[in-house]
C-alpha cells in the first residue's frame, strides 16, 4: 500500500517540482562528490604540509641536538688534546685547565672526571671523590670505553652515582666517555675521560619543541631505548605507552602507524654521530576538522550552497514551467468549451509552438462548430421552408372540390369568397420567402384558413379573431397559428355534436406578445398534450397542413430563444387553450436586422 501511495505521489508530482527535485538532487550529488574529493585532497595536503613542516622542524631539532652533542665532543677533545694528552697530571696544572673548560660549559656539563685504567679517580671537576667501595672498572660504560678505544661512548640517561654525594639530591646525566692516554711522570697509561652531560640541559633543548596541538617528539637510541620523552616517567611506570621500539627501527622519513589504537604520523630523523633518533609524533585527528563548531560550519556551508542551488533551481524550473502552466490553463478553458479563450503563447520556442498549434486547433474547432451550426441551421431552415411551402394536397383538393360544388350549385358569391380566401392564404404562405411576418399577416392567414375550413365543414364551428391594435405591427412567425387552428378543427371539432367555437386572440403582456388559440372541443388528456409536443407519428391525421405543434414550438425557440414558445392547457370535454409567447419586437425592426 505505501508503495502504491508513493507511486501515486510520484505520478501526481508537477513538472515544476519534478524539474526542481531532479536538478537539486543532481546538484547535491555532484556537490557531495566534489566536496568529498576536495576534502580528501585538502586533508591529504594538510597532512603532507604538516608532515613537511614537522620534517623541517625535526631537521632543525636534529641540527641543534647534533650541534649540542658536537659541542660536548669538542669539549672532550679539548680536554683530551689540550689538557690531558702529553701533560703531566702530577704537576697539578691539568685541574686548573679542566676547571676552566668546565666553567665554560657548566650549563650542559655536570661532571668531568679522568679515571685510570684501574678505576682510580685522577681528576674531577667539580671536585669529587668516588663512593667508598665503588669499583668503576665493573661499570659497563668503563669496560666498553676501554674495549673500543677509538670511539666516543654515549651512555643512556642515568643517575650519576659513582661520586660520593653528600647532597640530598641526585642528577640525571648522559655520560660521554672516551679512552685517553695519560702521562704520569715518564709513563703513559690508558685511562678514561668522563664527561657527564646534564640531562636537564638536554631536556630543556627538547622540551621547548612543539609539533602542534597534541604532537610531541622524543629521543630514542638506535635500539629504541628512550633517552628523552615528555612522559618518560609515566611510560616507565606503565601509565603511558609509546611505540619507541618499532619507531626507532625505521629509517629517516614520514610514516603513518597506529600507536596503541591511535593513528599517528611519525617523523623519524637521525642524530649525527650517536645514531640516536628524534621521533616526532602527530596524532592524525589533529588534521581533521573535528571541533563541533567546525563541523557545524561545514554543515552551514553545505546548507547554504544547497539553499542557493535550490533558489536557482526554483527560478529555472519556474521559468520553464510557468508558460506550460499558463498554456495548461488555456487548454483547460478550451476543454470546458470556452473556445473564445485566448490561448497563451509564450516561454521557450517549443512551448510557443505548442501554444500556436493549440490556438490554431481551437480556431479550427470553433470554425468547424460554427459551420456545423450554420449547416444545421440551414438544414432546419430549408426544412421549415419546405414545410411552409407545402400545402397539404388533400386540403387543396377538398377546397377546390368545395369551390367546384359551389360553382355547380351556382353559389357564385360563396365560391368567390373561398377562392379569394385561398388566394390570400397562399399569398401569405409565400410572404416573399420570409419566416417573420407581421402579426397582422399571420392573423389574416389564419382567418383565410378558418374561412375555408368553415365553408368546408358547413359552418359546423364559428370562430373569432381578436387582436389589440398595437400588436398588429409586431413580429410573428409565419405559419405559427395555422397548424394550431388546424389541430383545433380536426381534433377538437370534427367529431363534436354541438357547435364548435374557436377563439384566436393576441395581446401584449409585459413586453411580450401572447397568442391564445382556444376551442371548446373534445379536449385532451395530459398524455395527449405531452405527445402533442413530442409530435409522435400517430398524431398526424394526414389531413392537416403537415406542420406539427412541436414544429411550431421548436421554430419559436429557434428564432426567439428558449424562454419563448408554446404552452398548452387542456381538459377532456372542456376544450383546449394554447398560449404562444413571443417577444414584443417590431416586425420592421426584425426585417432591417435581417437585411444587415
Amino acid at each position: 500500500m505505501p508503495e502504491s501511495r508513493a507511486r501515486d505521489l510520484i505520478r501526481d508530482i508537477s513538472i515544476r517540482h519534478s524539474i526542481f527535485i531532479c536538478f537539486t538532487v543532481s546538484a547535491v550529488v555532484a556537490s557531495i562528490l566534489v566536496g568529498v574529493s576536495l576534502y580528501g585532497r585538502l586533508a591529504d595536503q594538510l597532512a603532507r604540509t604538516v608532515q613537511e613542516e614537522n620534517q623541517v622542524l625535526m631537521g632543525q631539532v636534529s641540527q641543534s641536538l647534533d650541534s649540542y652533542l658536537r659541542t660536548i665532543m669538542k669539549l672532550s677533545d679539548s680536554l683530551y688534546y689540550g689538557v690531558i694528552k702529553n701533560a703531566d697530571l702530577s704537576d697539578g696544572t691539568a685541574n686548573g685547565k679542566m676547571t676552566l673548560l668546565y666553567d665554560n660549559n657548566k650549563d650542559s656539563v655536570s661532571n668531568i672526571a679522568l679515571l685510570s685504567r684501574e678505576g682510580e679517580l685522577l681528576e674531577a671537576v667539580p671536585a669529587a671523590r668516588l663512593k667508598s667501595g665503588m669499583d668503576v672498572t665493573r661499570e659497563t660504560w668503563f669496560v666498553n670505553t676501554l674495549e673500543r678505544a677509538d670511539n666516543f661512548h654515549f651512555s643512556m640517561p642515568h643517575v650519576q652515582y659513582i661520586f660520593d654525594n653528600s647532597e640530598n639530591q641526585y642528577r640525571w646525566v648522559i655520560t660521554l666517555s672516551r679512552s685517553v692516554e695519560i702521562t704520569q711522570g715518564t709513563a703513559t697509561h690508558q685511562g678514561v675521560l668522563l664527561v657527564d652531560i646534564s640531562y636537564e640541559s638536554l631536556k630543556q633543548l627538547l622540551d621547548n619543541v612543539s609539533l602542534g596541538s597534541g604532537g610531541y617528539l622524543y629521543l630514542a637510541s638506535s635500539n629504541g631505548e628512550l633517552i628523552y620523552h615528555p612522559k618518560m616517567q609515566l611510560i616507565d611506570a606503565g601509565l603511558e605507552k609509546e611505540n619507541n621500539l618499532s619507531a626507532a627501527r625505521r629509517r629517516d622519513g614520514n610514516y603513518r602507524e597506529k600507536v596503541y589504537g591511535k593513528t599517528c604520523d611519525i617523523t623519524v630523523k637521525s642524530v649525527g654521530y650517536t645514531g640516536w633518533k628524534i621521533i616526532g609524533v602527530t596524532p592524525e585527528q589533529r588534521f581533521d576538522l573535528n571541533s563541533l563548531k567546525t563541523k557545524l560550519f561545514l554543515v552551514f556551508v553545505f546548507s547554504f550552497f544547497l539553499y542557493l542551488l535550490a533558489l536557482i533551481n526554483s527560478f529555472i524550473s519556474a521559468k520553464i514551467t510557468t508558460p506550460i502552466q499558463k498554456l495548461e490553463k488555456s487548454v483547460n478553458a478550451l476543454e470546458a468549451g470556452e473556445l473564445d479563450t485566448e490561448v497563451y503563447i509564450g516561454g521557450s520556442y517549443e512551448i510557443q509552438h505548442l501554444g500556436r498549434s493549440i490556438r490554431d486547433m481551437a480556431e479550427r474547432i470553433q470554425k468547424l462548430m460554427q459551420d456545423i451550426v450554420a449547416e444545421h441551421e440551414s438544414k432546419r431552415k430549408s426544412e421549415f421552408d419546405t414545410l411552409q411551402s407545402q400545402i397539404n394536397p388533400h386540403f387543396l383538393y377538398n377546397t377546390l372540390d368545395i369551390i367546384v360544388w359551389m360553382v355547380e350549385n351556382e353559389q357564385k358569391q360563396e365560391a368567390v369568397k373561398v377562392v379569394t380566401a385561398l388566394a390570400r392564404f397562399f399569398r401569405i404562405s409565400l410572404s416573399r420567402g420570409r419566416s417573420i411576418i407581421p402579426v397582422r399577416d399571420e392573423l389574416e392567414h389564419v382567418r383565410s384558413y378558418l374561412m375555408i375550413q368553415q365553408m368546408r365543414f358547413k359552418n359546423k364551428f364559428t370562430y373569432r379573431i381578436q387582436a389589440e391594435p398595437e400588436t398588429l405591427g409586431l413580429a410573428s412567425l409565419k405559419l405559427m397559428l395555422q397548424p394550431l387552428v388546424e389541430n383545433a378543427i380536426y381534433h377538437g371539432m370534427e367529431f363534436m355534436d354541438g357547435d364548435g367555437e374557436i377563439l384566436v386572440e393576441v395581446k401584449l403582456r409585459g413586453g411580450q406578445v401572447e397568442f391564445l388559440i382556444q376551442d371548446n372541443g373534445l379536449g385532451m388528456t395530459a398524455g395527449q398534450v405531452e405527445s402533442l409536443l413530442k409530435e409522435t407519428p400517430h398524431t398526424h391525421s394526414g389531413r392537416g397542413s403537415g406542420i406539427g405543434v412541436k414544429n411550431v414550438n421548436e421554430r419559436i425557440r429557434l428564432y426567439f430563444g428558449e424562454e419563448f414558445g408554446l404552452f398548452i392547457q387542456s381538459e377532456p370535454d372542456e376544450g383546449t387553450a394554447i398560449r404562444i409567447l413571443l417577444p414584443a419586437v417590431s416586425w420592421q425592426q426584425v426585417i432591417e436586422q435581417e437585411k444587415k
Binding site: R16, K131, G133, P157, H158, V159, Y161, N165, N168, Q169, Y170, W172, Y199, K203, K231, M232, Q233, L234, D236, A237, G238, L239, L292, K293, T294, L296, F297, V299, F300, S303, F304, Y307, A310, S314, A318, T321, T322, Q325
Partner: protein, 326 residues
C-alpha cells in the same frame, strides 16, 4: 507561482541557515570551550614535604598536562587531625574544586567522608576510600599490608631467627603505617619472632633504644623503621657510631626519600620497601580532575610497591621509580 506551503518551506530553511550560522560562527549559541583551570588542594598529614618529593613531581607533571592549579599544604603540627579538617574546609571555601587528602589516621579518613560540609570531590591518599552515605570518593594507595609481608619474609630469610625485631613507630600511626605493621606482623608472629614496638615520643628516642642494645646487656637486633623519619634518624645514629651498627644486624625501613636512598646506597640501611610516589602524585591529580568533570566517577587505585636492597638501587627497573626525572 510559489504556493503558501513552499513559501513556508523557504522561510523555515532560511531560519535554519541563520541558526546554523549563529551556532557555527558566533558565540551566541555555542560558547567556545575555554581552557579551564582546575584549582585542587593537596593536604598531607605531615608538617614537611620531605616524604612527598617524588609525589610532588608526579603531581606537578599532571598539573601541567591537565591544567590544574595545585596547592600543596602541609600541617603546622604533623598528625593534627582537627587542623587537617579545618584546612580542608578552608581550601574548599577558597575555591578548591577537589581535595586530595592524606588523612592523619583511618578515623580522620572516615571523618572526611562523613563531613557534610565538604562538598567537593575527595581523593584520599594512602587510605582506602570507604563509601559513606553514598558519598563518592576515590583513593590512591599502595598495598602496605603486602609490603609489610614482603619485608617480613625478607627478614625471615636474611636474619637469624633468634634475633628480635625492633619496630620503630612514628609519633602518630597513620593508616599506611598500621597496614604495613599488620603485614609485617602477619609473617613475624607466626614464625615466633620476638618483636618489640617503640614509638617515637621525642627526638632522640630511638637512639636510646639502640644504646640499650649495647648497654647494659649486649644484644643484637633487627630494626624496622615504620616511617621515613624514623629510618633516617636511625640510619644517622648507626652512621655516627660503628659500635651501634655492629649490634644492629639489619636496618630496614620504608620510603623513597633521597636521604633514605642515600643510606641504602651507603649500606647503612639493609633493605627498603619502596613505593611509586611519582605515579601516586600524578594519578591523584588526574583522578581529582576526572571527579571534577564527573562527580560520580569513583576510583580505587593500588600502585606498584616493592622491596629493594643496595644492589638494586641503580637497576634500570628501579632507577626512574626512585629518582624520577623531574
Amino acid at each position: 507561482m510559489i504556493t503558501k506551503y513552499e513559501k513556508l518551506l523557504w522561510i523555515a530553511y532560511s531560519a535554519v541557515l541563520v541558526i546554523l550560522f549563529l551556532m557555527s560562527s558566533t558565540d551566541l549559541i555555542i560558547k567556545e570551550k575555554k581552557q579551564e583551570v582546575y584549582p585542587v588542594s593537596v593536604i598531607v598529614e605531615d608538617s614537611t614535604d620531605d616524604n612527598y618529593v617524588n609525589f610532588r613531581k608526579g603531581m606537578e607533571q599532571a598539573a601541567v598536562e591537565l591544567n590544574v592549579d595545585v596547592s600543596f599544604i602541609t600541617l603546622y603540627d604533623a598528625g593534627d587531625r582537627e587542623q587537617q579538617a579545618e584546612l580542608a574546609l578552608r581550601e574548599q571555601q577558597e575555591g578548591a574544586r577537589a581535595l586530595i587528602v592524606a588523612p592523619v589516621d583511618p578515623d580522620a579518613a572516615v571523618e572526611f567522608l562523613e563531613d557534610d560540609r565538604l562538598q567537593v570531590p575527595l581523593v584520599l591518599l594512602h587510605s582506602e576510600a570507604v563509601p559513606v552515605d553514598d558519598r563518592v570518593s576515590a583513593s590512591i594507595t599502595f598495598d602496605y599490608h603486602g609490603m609489610g609481608r614482603e619485608l617480613g619474609m625478607q627478614i625471615q630469610k636474611e636474619q637469624p631467627p633468634k634475633l628480635p625485631v625492633y619496630l620503630f613507630l612514628g609519633s602518630g600511626q597513620g593508616e599506611a603505617e598500621r597496614l604495613f605493621e599488620d603485614g609485617l606482623m602477619s609473617v613475624l608472629e607466626p614464625a615466633g619472632r620476638e618483636t618489640l614496638r617503640f614509638r617515637r615520643e621525642a627526638s632522640g628516642g630511638f637512639r636510646k633504644v639502640i644504646e640499650s642494645l649495647v648497654y647494659p646487656g649486649v644484644q643484637n637486633a633487627v630494626i624496622v623503621a615504620m616511617d621515613q623519619e624514623g629510618l633516617v634518624e636511625t640510619a644517622g645514629v648507626l652512621k655516627d657510631s660503628s659500635v651501634y651498627a655492629s649490634y644492629v644486624s639489619g636496618l630496614y625501613g620504608r620510603g623513597t626519600s633521597i636521604l633514605a636512598l642515600n643510606e641504602l646506597d651507603r649500606g647503612i640501611v639493609r633493605g627498603l620497601c619502596i613505593t611509586d610516589d611519582f605515579s601516586a602524585g600524578y594519578l591523584s591529580v588526574q583522578t581529582a580532575v576526572r571527579m571534577i568533570s564527573n562527580p560520580y566517577e569513583s576510583r580505587q587505585e593500588y600502585l606498584v610497591s616493592g622491596y629493594i636492597e643496595r644492589e638494586d638501587l641503580h637497576k634500570e627497573e628501579y632507577e626512574k621509580l626512585l629518582y624520577p626525572i623531574g
